[in-house]
């Protein structure tokens, strides 16, 4: 009903300038165009200077200078790279599936652009004389939309690997599919607790629901699960196995020589990292809300200030991702999968049950005893399962330790090339034993 919506709009505008879902779809067309251009500019410039920022930061962490030739502080390095990639000869290997090979980078980039459109940059602001929420689009299913766009771009990766007709590319594509898909489940489950508290999937209303306390504080386990999944979903170190260059040459992008298509793939990956950071800020870190000491100041949530808070949180989250890249080694694929399926998903399921039980006690006070009983049962059950598996893991660790202890005696049996150790050249699967 238009009347009702208008009423809510006015109320929201007067009280706190917190946009709700109802505030969207009322902009004149030219404001939408302005906001879309601003978003595209933000993302395009963000990728350019994000690459520069990451390279500069990580080289400082590794005690070197990083790019410092093109422009002041190497600021124009990415611009130079982009120009070079745009003008370089594009090699189309004769073996590839032409249509899919060309389409795959597009499938990777475009959903990555779209996913960012639901991230709120700020509350309702005055933009060229029009009051409008500083967010391009909000949907009743906005968070689901972000997840869907993440899943769609996996198609790009898989198709890039498949259409290249190269074993390494194919393997990288398959790895990516299994990995991203596994971490997407845990990611979706980590959002459920947020939805339980916010009561909506719309990003602007989730930010609105964090007025008192950020969900990162209220729902720490969900936030931790999300942070781990963020790396898996964006395929960043320590989970960058789809392109693990030590093992798969370049992974799914091996056959994309450094032309514009390669630049598009890189851009898509960067945008996914941006989206992961943007979602972390929006769902868990209070969106555009000011951090604690600043939030005591009344004006922190007024006008254009929130954009600054959002941007600061966004940059800090991105810097955290870079920091992790500088600190952690790449995990093995079996470790990656068992972390996803045996730790993150069960933990998320148990956590959801617990949150729901506690929330039920708070919301429906009549059933308090039953709710508390359920909560206790869940905690005990989870602890029992955890103890059980922890003993299994303990036994396995001890067996592994014993094996490592026993190892130094073995090398005498190994094949050696002039005294140098060589990798084992005769394993069962070289004879097709495991294939059967």
């Amino acid at each position: 009903m238009p009347e009702e919506r208008k009423g809510r709009h006015v109320m929201a505008g007067v009280l706190a300038a917190d946009p709700t879902l109802a505030d969207f779809g009322e902009d004149p067309l030219w404001i939408i165009v302005v906001k879309a251009v601003m978003l595209f500019l933000f993302l395009a410039l963000g990728v350019m200077f994000g690459v520069w920022f990451e390279r500069k930061l990580i080289s400082r962490m590794q005690d070197r200078y990083g790019p410092n030739r093109a422009g002041r502080f190497g600021l124009l390095q990415s611009v130079a790279d982009a120009v070079k990639m745009g003008l370089k000869e594009d090699i189309l290997p004769s073996a590839v599936d032409r249509v899919l090979y060309l389409l795959a980078p597009v499938i990777m980039v475009v959903p990555a652009f779209l996913a960012f459109s639901v991230v709120p940059f700020g509350p309702v602001v005055e933009l060229f004389g029009v009051r409008t929420p500083l967010q391009l689009v909000d949907l009743p299913v906005a968070v689901l939309f972000v997840l869907a766009m993440g899943a769609v771009s996996v198609y790009g990766v898989v198709l890039a690997g498949w259409s290249s007709r190269s074993p390494y590319a194919l393997l990288g594509g398959l790895r990516s599919a299994a990995q991203v898909v596994s971490y997407e489940i845990a990611m979706g489950l980590s959002f459920v607790a947020v939805f339980l508290f916010a009561g909506t999937l719309s990003t602007s209303e989730i930010v609105r629901a964090q007025e008192q306390v950020w969900f990162a504080v209220l729902l720490i386990p969900s936030f931790l699960v999300y942070v781990v999944c963020m790396f898996g979903e964006a395929a960043r170190i320590p989970f960058d196995l789809p392109e693990g260059e030590g093992e798969l040459v370049g992974g799914f992008q091996t056959e994309y020589s450094s032309s514009l298509k390669f630049a598009l793939i890189m851009m898509g990956e960067y945008l996914h990292t941006f989206t992961a950071a943007g979602v972390a800020v929006t769902l868990f870190l209070g969106g555009w809300r000011a951090p604690f000491p600043v939030s005591l100041w009344e004006g922190a949530g007024q006008g254009w200030w929130p954009v600054l808070w959002f941007f600061l949180k966004f940059v800090l989250t991105f810097a955290f991702i870079v920091w992790v890249r500088a600190s952690l080694p790449r995990v093995r694929y079996d470790q990656l999968m068992s972390l996803g399926w045996k730790v993150l998903i069960p933990v998320s399921l148990a956590w959801i049950l617990l949150v729901a039980a506690v929330r039920n006690v708070v919301v429906n006070e009549g059933d308090r005893m039953l709710g508390i009983g359920l909560g206790v049962i869940i905690v005990i059950g989870v602890l029992a399962v955890w103890m059980r598996f922890d003993t299994v893991a303990q036994r396995r660790r001890e067996a592994l330790g014993a094996q490592v202890e026993a190892e130094p005696e073995e090398p005498s049996d190994e094949r050696a090339a002039g005294g140098f150790p060589v990798p084992p050249l005769d394993l069962p699967h070289y004879h097709g034993v495991s294939r059967s």
Binding site: R5, L102, L114, P167, L174, R175, V181, W341, R359, L374
Partner: protein, 171 residues
């Protein structure tokens, strides 16, 4: 539903006139305030559309813009860049050594198993989302909670089954 249907009776021969008339009547009777809003100004009608489907239309428009930008960049670079292919350049790179045999190696079925499991659990997550949004609303009490516990119990049984069958361990 659209009142425009009344005016172009002639152009829709497949729909009997009686039905069109009945629909128009029903529209006039049922949609009192809506119809009034429509009569008041075209803007009101637009905003109705803008409110719900407008967001999705905007997403579609963004999609089109994104595709256009990418396609523009690709075709622009096609005009600017040189193209001097040789037989060596066009071979598959792989790891720098001349490729041997077919590019598509057979790969392990375990990737496929994981994508299968994904379908099960993605559906699970999709059922959880709407439940989580209405959970705190009045009228959804203990029953909702217990129902979801049962559902999650079944799902957990699924993951335990896969676990026991050693599908989850990457050998």
């Amino acid at each position: 539903m659209s009142p425009i249907g009344v005016s172009d009776e002639g152009s829709a021969p497949s729909v009997p006139n009686a039905i069109v008339r009945r629909r128009a009547l029903a529209h006039r009777q049922a949609g009192g305030p809506e119809a009034a809003g429509y009569r008041n100004a075209g803007r009101g009608y637009d905003r109705d559309m803008g409110g719900y489907f407008g967001s999705y239309a905007l997403v579609v428009a963004l999609f089109a813009i994104g595709v256009a930008i990418v396609a523009g960049a690709l075709s622009g670079s096609r005009l600017l860049r040189p193209s001097r292919p040789t037989a060596e350049k066009l071979t598959t790179y792989e790891c720098g050594v001349d490729p041997v045999g077919e590019g598509w190696a057979q790969s392990q079925v375990r990737y496929y198993v994981f994508t299968y499991l994904y379908v099960v659990f993605a559906v699970d997550a999709v059922f959880l989302f709407p439940w989580a949004t209405v959970f705190a609303a009045p009228g959804f009490g203990m029953t909702t909670l217990v129902e979801m516990f049962l559902f999650l119990g079944f799902i957990a049984l699924g993951i335990v089954y896969a676990w026991r069958k050693r599908v989850l361990s990457w050998t």
